[in-house]
Symmetry: C2
Subunit: 402 residues, 2 copies
């Protein structure tokens, strides 16, 4: 187990050593865009003041959703947003009265927390609003995750809306309630997603998208602004496959955007062209990956598509350690353009989605994908990589659909 400090990419002193006037525990309470200044308040001393800017970068991140139901503030109900949250959860696990854990939400955070709790010896129940876990996948691919979680001994309850958290007289949580049932819990972890933290930006009249994230141009300038940039979990990004703005709060985008903003604010030039919606996750040895559009995303933007699913293996079938892998692929009708890929499998499944991610960026057709020159050797892949097998089937499906 690495020390907590190993998770800190750069400590305050390191920033200050680079001549950055970093003010911790100081909250910005107002952005005055035309006046080119921000109002701040020191949390400990209560001191307040204004500081002017030539160029402003908004990186206010996201705030975790908390179900607005009774008992959500009971002792033993944990969020997992900050390093402090993580420490509080670890402390809470040590002090738990029993070994029953309930995770609310079955997205990336939810399934990863389920794994972590399982490994710490908890009996884990995941309560999820959608029918299947991982609603970033199409439901039948989520069902594969569900089945694998069953096999691991994680109980997953789908189509279940949490109506409240039941606490004992001492204020400690003892169950999670839904319409249909009550799930005993010595500890509860919330993994129900995040919202962009853009209240300051909104109050300052800066433009927000339909998900509430700031809208920027390709150089990460806030739209309509000359001297204000924004990046990370508080912005929406261009989805290159659908052509729409989406809210995709992921560290990999935040990091790239930070680099782009740094270049531009410093007078150089860089752009963040957009995303294709790649995400990978795991529950124990099950790997889960997706990129591009799900069926509902494609429909939403008016795309007609074919969808194929294939079963393949991570290595040549005869090679020791070959593990099964399910690949689903969507392609546009008529043009055969690749629209999306979802993969559920074991070792070597998740990062295979990168091939599709690059192909989506390049707007390749499934015919072009099927012809790709991917690495082949029996320890690494069947002679047709699972993604290529799916592409071949998609080519046939596009033709058949006419």
């Amino acid at each position: 187990m690495p020390a907590r400090e190993e998770l800190i990419a750069r400590a305050p002193e390191e920033h200050r050593a680079r001549d950055i006037d970093l003010r911790m525990r100081t909250e910005v309470t107002e952005i005055d865009v035309p006046g080119q200044r921000v109002r701040w308040r020191e949390l400990e001393s209560g001191a307040e003041g204004w500081t002017g800017f030539d160029r402003l970068v908004i990186a206010t991140g996201a705030r975790p959703l908390r179900p607005p139901v009774p008992g959500v503030d009971a002792q033993g109900v944990f969020g997992v947003q900050t390093l402090e949250d993580g420490q509080a959860l670890l402390d809470g696990l040590s002090g738990a009265r029993g070994r029953r854990a309930v995770v609310v939400g079955a997205g990336y955070i939810g399934v990863e927390m389920a794994e972590a709790l399982l490994k710490r010896g908890f009996e884990v129940t995941v309560v999820n609003r959608s029918e299947q876990p991982m609603s970033t996948l199409d439901p039948e691919m989520g069902r594969l995750v569900h089945r694998a979680m069953d096999g691991l001994g994680i109980r997953t309850v789908g189509s279940a809306e949490v109506t409240g958290f039941v606490a004992d007289g001492d204020g400690r949580v003892r169950a999670v309630a839904t319409e249909a049932a009550e799930y005993p819990a010595d500890v509860v972890v919330l993994g129900v997603g995040v919202l962009p933290e853009t209240s300051l930006a909104e109050a300052a009249g800066l433009p927000l998208g339909s998900s509430g994230g700031l809208l920027t141009d390709l150089a990460m300038r806030v739209r309509g602004q000359e001297n204000v940039w924004a990046g990370g979990d508080c912005v929406e990004v261009l989805d290159l496959v659908s052509g729409r703005e989406r809210y995709v709060p992921l560290g990999t985008h935040a990091n790239k955007q930070g680099q782009v903003i740094g270049s531009n604010v410093g007078g150089d030039y860089a752009t963040f062209p957009g995303v294709v919606g790649t995400a990978v996750s795991k529950v124990c040895d099950l790997e889960i990956a997706r990129t591009g559009l799900r069926e509902r995303d494609a429909r939403e933007v008016g795309l007609r598509f074919v969808s194929v699913t294939v079963e393949s293996t991570s290595r040549a079938g005869y090679y020791p350690g070959a593990a099964p892998m399910t690949v689903k692929m969507l392609a546009e009708r008529r043009t055969g353009r690749l629209l999306g890929v979802q993969i559920v499998g074991r070792e070597g499944a998740a990062k295979r989605v990168d091939v599709a991610a690059v192909a989506l960026s390049a707007r390749m057709s499934v015919e072009e994908v099927a012809a790709l020159d991917l690495g082949y050797a029996p320890p690494f892949s069947p002679v047709w990589d699972p993604v290529l097998v799916a592409a071949r089937k998609a080519v046939a499906a596009v033709r058949a659909a006419g």
Copy 2:
């Protein structure tokens, strides 16, 4: 250990069940292209005859090189081309007088045989003509492989030309000789590459390229022919990065070409657009991958380039199991076009090259590569995937080179 039969994709009876008149142990001795017929000879009976064709497919494969030196036919010197070769080698290992093995050649076959022999308890020496193993990589990347092989206890002798095989009075090999030294050997494995088996095609006047492979069009028709197709290890392929024909005898291309030929011969339409030169291999837990052009390939076709090398890790640095990885990237000067990638590392290194393979097919610039939306989660990748880290450095190098 899988049974020998598991390595057979399709047995003769399965072909015959599909109404294919398959004649085993029957050699074609002449192709009469204008007469649309082939002359054959049954190896056992010696019977000969002609069979006419409307459409001909040439899939004569490759023949393994054997160093043209004294003693190469000594007992205990094995090639590894066919299933029978494999069985003969396994039998030879059981009957070996001692545990000293010499592998001639340090390409894909050579290093994989070194691993296999090591795992069977042999003391392994690899004798190699190039200075470093894996000459499909640039020499300094090959040096990383060399060092790893040293660490595994495999002795690698570079810049060494085999001058002969020394046999005992009973005709059994006892040493491999080079100009400089003699390496004691109870068993010798040859892995010095293959040549296209195109003697029949050449005699028939069909067009061969500079490597001796048949030249085809994109539909895998032999150039200038209406009714003759060819594919697999007997053809040259178009290298999409250099624009030149190359000889790349790999199962993955052969398999795709077979599918393309089948479609076209059957009256449908398909093409094999070409390759980008992707190949992956391993020695024990060391993974080796390459795609696109090496420095010498780029120079040969007149490309000016920058070259960068980065050290990264397979997972987030703080995540258990993160393994080091070296990525080398070549980009064209001025345009920044990606030209090639080489990777040497541990778990998760080899198949990462697929991202570069797709980017090469799409003729992406390193700036486009650096912006790719690849899967990120700490168990699978640092927040900047190693390939993206290399691309960022290449972007800077292209700018600096002007």
